[in-house]
Amino acid sequence: MVAPETPGTPGSPSARTRYSPLFELTRVRFLEFLREPEAVFWTFVFPILLATGLGIAFRSRSAEVVKIAVVASADGVRVRAALAADSLLDVALVSDSVASESLRMGTVALVVVPVSATSVEYRYDDARPDARNTRLLVDRAIQKAGGAYSPVATAETLVSEPGSRYVDFVVPGLLAMNLMGSGIWSIGFAIVDARRKKLLKRLVATPMRRGHYLASFLVMRIGLMVIEVSVISSFGHFVFGVPMRGPLLTFITVALFGTFAFGALGLLIASRARTVEAASGMMNVVMLPMWVASGVFFAASRFPDVVQPFVQALPLTAVVDALRLNMLQGAGFAGVASELAILAAWLVVAFTIALRLFRWR
């Protein structure tokens, strides 16, 4: 087939520059984002700071030494010697009043009061889990020193495996939360701002295709998502050893589906709002329940059974669960199919309604 030649232009002396509207729109999207230092901080730096903080706070520690107090007396010296044999106990010999004070302040977990050569009294708060453990440790040491005999021989192997620590749990959650936040915020604010400034109306007055305008947001979100997800997941992987056990393709697909679903929600929120204030209120209404209920920081299964269907249907829950299944348990497409279906449903419903409601002027 021969393409029909445009009349009047064969061999035109001025080689005209070709412009692609989708490319130019997307370029302006990126430029606006990169020239907004706050946006760059909240998108890239903040999740890493948060992951670092949580990683440090919840790092796995080797068995901790517990502080206890022994009330000073002739028997006390002997009890302390017996307890000192246990390397997990840090024993202080103090007066009765100092011991009680330390217990109240929580600086010791338990106080041992020697009553006679053959009996001791334990003072501790039964509500403190570490106090109960300490009581077991202390009692074992004292009984052993008193001549108790263990009839069964034991051997111990200690296990601390990547994949079961808190940081492993929280990094996929942070990834998902970041996809939601940047998806909804970046699209929502940019559109409402353009509407408020009558820029949207100005663009509608050009031959610009409306689909190109919306598509430019999608392209921007995919581009930024790739950067966000790589930065956060490689930080988790290389700094904290968070595993990436599942197929990478499934991981990328989950991130893409999440990006689309949250992008559609951002579009829906921005479809009619005329002021940034109205939009940001709506964004909080949409995002707050998900921050709380979707299991970013603790398991969503802690919520009562009655609300579980709602919790499970939230898009953030779907992304969090799918990322955890993929990263920690190695799930492929089959393992995350129901989560992908939930995200696809959100995408279709939110996008369809958004297009119907969208106010261009």
Binding site: Y19, F23, E24, L31, K197, L199, R202, A205, T206
Partner: protein, 312 residues
Amino acid sequence: MTATMSALSVRNLVKRYGTVTAVDGLDLTVGAGECFGLLGPNGAGKTTTIEICEGLLTPDSGEVLVLGLDWKRDERALRQRLGVQLQETQLAEKVTVEETVRLFRSFYANGREVNEVINLVQLEEKRRARVGTLSGGQKQRLSVACALVGDPDLVFLDEPTTGLDPQSRRQLWDLVERLKKLGRTIVLTTHYMDEAERLCDRVAIVDHGRIIALGSPRELIRSLGAEQVVECALESADGITVDDLQALPGVLEALLVAASWTLQVNAAHETIPALLALVNARGAKLTELSTHSPTLEDVFVSLTGRHLREGG
């Protein structure tokens, strides 16, 4: 096919917002190559009219043909041939002048080169400056550049100089005059009579959604029949009536507008002494007296009994 191809033709246009009728049966025709002005006070319906012509609002009734095309049938083709500058559009602040023009250029199948348009609006030195750093006048010229980048057959400018300082206004006027020399059809709205007088080949004076006068600025002014306009403000002049002033020699029309008198006269040298004598005889006090050649403002005053600008 229309027999005579006008750039813009509007018939019996009506647009209501609730109980308010913004445009009330308006007709106008703009010829190709003409610079046409819609002049009127704020709220007269100028912006509503121009936005209907731009295809941004739908009229309640009436017919609009732009370049012989209809918005309902030919929107895509029309958009390619129009340049639009809106009141109150704020372009993205973090983007540079060149990037902005380039973006708008990308929407048009054919048009001018980016640099050419930037030169046309004299923003060469600001090419790499972000929009947020531009002055009001520069922003407005950039906004016009975005309207010109598709090399339009018809350009709509809505209040292009509102809010600008005098120097920026003159720069914008120069720009519109360059466009006129290039043979573009321009439709602009304004509430500055000096702007309409200077730029427009023909002016439609709009009030309450209707055209109350139409013609070239010169014709409109001539229609007053007055050689001069005398304006005066009087104190303790309870006894002086319209009829008294009307009866003065050389007075064609006397009007009380916003607490001062406007006299359209054809012989100021006869009117003024007579006016002073009248003021003296009645024991009133003259606090202001001025004369000027008639302007479009006087045409508006004569037609409506009000000034174009509130409090003006």
